[in-house]
Subunit: 271 residues, 2 copies
């Protein structure tokens, strides 16, 4: 099936698009640096994996990259968003037999940087529902994350950590979590909830971090913690609720490692 790829400003979205009605779709947000989308292969692989899980056809990656060209030509760094929906469909939940998926591309400015002294985090009250069939996917059912973000409007708090319904720490609202304990980096398993982030995947591939089921005490008592995502890279954490974390040489080492591998994040190294 041929899937049209359109730029957001030219895209007309039908009122019966299943993305709009049911969140029946997937997305990717990529860092743009030096006119290139960073970690393109990993992002495309995650999108394709999610599309197979939901039974949505994808356009060819070549057609997406070609459509991205005018967006990548903008000067400076930015964020490229790919949104894939199942397309228009009837009123019922059953996926239509012959849906025409839609892909929409948009360009966004880089988010405001967090302070170089580290993030202040809080534990969110909301607990993520457990759904192994959707866990790890960057799908468009994000009301839990919207509600978790809306829990706290204090501008001094930069991010919130989320536990799942069994109380296991899983992720931040828009980043993955790494925790240092006894000299080992640990990151939550994402088999029940959460999004399998691309920067997290890059770190695991470098041998940094081991997936495991964490408890809240594991995080509160950690020697150091950081968040990460594909747009911002590594985000050292200075505070989690009342607990303070001193700058840690292990976090600095990982910031430096990423900055050397990916020049997009070089500014963070000097920070």
């Amino acid at each position: 099936m041929s899937v049209p790829v359109r730029l957001a400003q030219e895209a007309t979205i039908a009122a019966d698009d299943r993305g709009l009605n049911y969140g029946d779709g997937l997305f990717e947000t990529l860092r743009i640096h030096a006119g290139q989308p960073l970690w393109w292969g990993a992002h495309w692989q995650r999108l394709s994996h999610g599309a197979r899980a939901l039974g949505i056809a994808t356009p060819s990656p070549e057609s997406v990259l070609a459509a991205c060209e005018p967006l990548l030509a903008q000067p400076g760094d930015g964020v490229l968003k790919l949104l894939l929906t199942r397309g228009s469909g009837g009123r019922g939940y059953a996926p239509p037999e012959f849906a025409q998926p839609q892909m929409i591309l948009s360009l966004h400015p880089l988010p405001k940087p967090f302070p170089a002294t580290g993030l202040h985090l809080r534990w969110c009250t909301l607990r993520l529902g457990i759904q192994p069939l959707l866990a790890g996917l960057k799908h468009c059912n994000r009301l839990e994350h919207v509600l978790a973000r809306a829990e706290c409007s204090d501008p001094a708090i930069h991010e919130g950590l989320l536990c799942d319904a069994h109380g296991a720490p899983t992720c931040a609202t828009a980043a993955n979590l790494f925790v240092l304990r006894g000299g080992n980096w640990l990151t939550p398993l994402l088999d029940r909830a959460g999004v399998a982030g691309i920067c997290r995947q890059w770190l695991l591939a470098q041998g940094i971090g081991r997936e495991c089921r964490l408890t809240r005490e594991h995080v509160d008592d950690a020697d150091a913690i950081f968040l990460c995502n594909a747009v911002r890279g590594i985000l050292p954490v200075a505070r989690l609720d009342a607990r303070r974390f001193e700058p840690h040489p292990e976090v600095r080492r990982i910031v430096r490692l990423l900055a050397r591998a990916e020049p997009a994040f070089a500014a963070m190294e000097s920070a």
Copy 2:
């Protein structure tokens, strides 16, 4: 805040609408009969309740009813869908401070009727994630229901029953569940998952059914079961996987009760 109300065929939806990107919205599907939307008050109340829970402003009900007029003027019965989204927003999950919600109205034909001899059901494999903050609301995060519907393409199976992550029967993919045991009608509590249906609410208000936590055995061993929703009314069940249910006078009594109260469902009484 004034919320624009538009008909689907005239509505342009922005690519950055949060309904499209995050399923950040709510909907209602109402039966139209004799040029009127059935149970309007209850539907509006549920939508308003959901909008308060998500922090989305609503238009005035009068402005929605006025905008519905050309849709209600169509001959014959049909389905009216109200879709309320938080509107356009930035790339992040945090609800924008000054979002402009959008309401879109659309008219749909009645679904194909189910056989008068009763529905054939199956147990779905998917288990609904538990999220007390969203339970009961008819929000637009419906991937679980989409996947549950996609589990079975056998046209002889009309609906699927869903348990939550703790194994408690909760609902069908697009209807609520009532179970007769020892002369009492029971219906699942919807405090962990599921949608608080308007026909279910009407039945409870008539003193039919008591909310409780059911087990799968409660359903499999029931004397009779039926499904219900606001578009189709009461749906007697003839079979659940291998278990057959004979026509039951208690189900006939409730079908008749609804048909007399709401002429939209009178055809079912004679079936």
